[in-house]
């Protein structure tokens, strides 16, 4: 078992087979620099619980293909990303930090699905990005492909 510690000082025990899906922790263990408790200063306990839930479910991924549990895993993934926007954002940050490729892919796809039909304004707000383009530059981009800024699917709400 490996112990992980969140930035709000909560400890979680995870099976090594599950935790090595994180490239970062796998490298730490292989290089012998994993301490008895691995501190994760960028991840809060709420997010870490979600990540561990994912790691535990995906621990037997290789076996799933043999036993026909792929559908079960697919259903789990669909349910898993069914969370609030801010929560998803935090899981993405954690997956990126821990270098868990499959989790990153799953969450980025979900983020893209939620953002793809948003207006430019809504995307900026959801990702807290400050616009640094001048009005002229912006107009030029719009003029290049005005149709990309039109359509019934474009959604200006932030959620």
């Amino acid at each position: 078992m490996v112990k992980l510690k969140s930035n709000d000082d909560k400890e979680f025990e995870v099976e090594e087979a599950a935790v090595i899906q994180s490239e970062m922790i796998k490298n730490m263990i292989e290089d012998g620099c994993a301490t008895s408790v691995i501190p994760l200063p960028n991840i809060d306990s709420k997010t870490l619980i979600k990540v561990i839930e994912y790691l535990n479910k995906h621990i037997n991924m290789g076996k799933a293909a043999e036993t026909g549990e792929e559908d079960d895993l697919k259903e789990f993934d669909e349910q898993f990303v069914n969370m609030g926007w801010e929560e998803l954002f935090d899981v993405i940050m954690a997956a990126n930090y821990l270098n868990i490729h499959e989790l990153m892919e799953l969450c980025c796809q979900s983020a893209a699905d939620r953002l793809k039909n948003k207006s430019v304004r809504a995307v900026r707000e959801m990702l807290k990005i400050t616009n640094d383009l001048t009005e002229e530059e912006e107009q030029e981009i719009i003029n290049d492909a005005p149709w990309a800024f039109e359509g019934p699917e474009i959604d200006d709400t932030v959620n």
């Binding site: 990153m104 980025c108 793809k116 995307v123 900026r124 990005i129 990309a148 359509g151």
Partner: protein
Amino acid sequence: MATCDNVGAFLEDVAKEILLNFPVKSLLRFKCVCKKWCALIEDPKFTIEHLNCSKKKPQQFLIYDCGAADDAPAVTVTSDYGIPSPSQGDNSQRFGVILKLLGCVDGLFFMEREIDKGILCSLWNPATGEMRHLPAASMEFQPFDVYPRHFGFGLDPMTKDYKVVYHYHRDGLLMFKGFMENLQT
């Protein structure tokens, strides 16, 4: 929610992962989000990565409505959402008489059209709506040439150029090149 410092890091590391999953229409719009996104989306390396990502996803449809009434131009439609109903015309482009449509190669099509009694050859990217006309000035096509024209269209894996080969059954082989590295696919 992550702190402001994290958001900076988010832009560097994660934005690209998310951007790779967007359809082309969203990418063209989100060039307006900020300078970094604009530079990233316009980067030819990003285009290639996005193409490779798209190849893993369900295929899109190209619908060619050759039954357009009277003089109405032919209509083509692409869609992310499976086959659209005819009323969903927002993604459609209209063209004059299409004599030949070849493809697709990496989402690109070769199109031969009759325009003002002349022939215009173009490479067309339906996802971006971009159209590049080939330098056909040196080739004098007539719409009703006695000899049939033959075209081939493909990717040269050595030079990464998309090439069109024109074969006129009498005069042998003639080749012209289109540089398409900046096109989103």
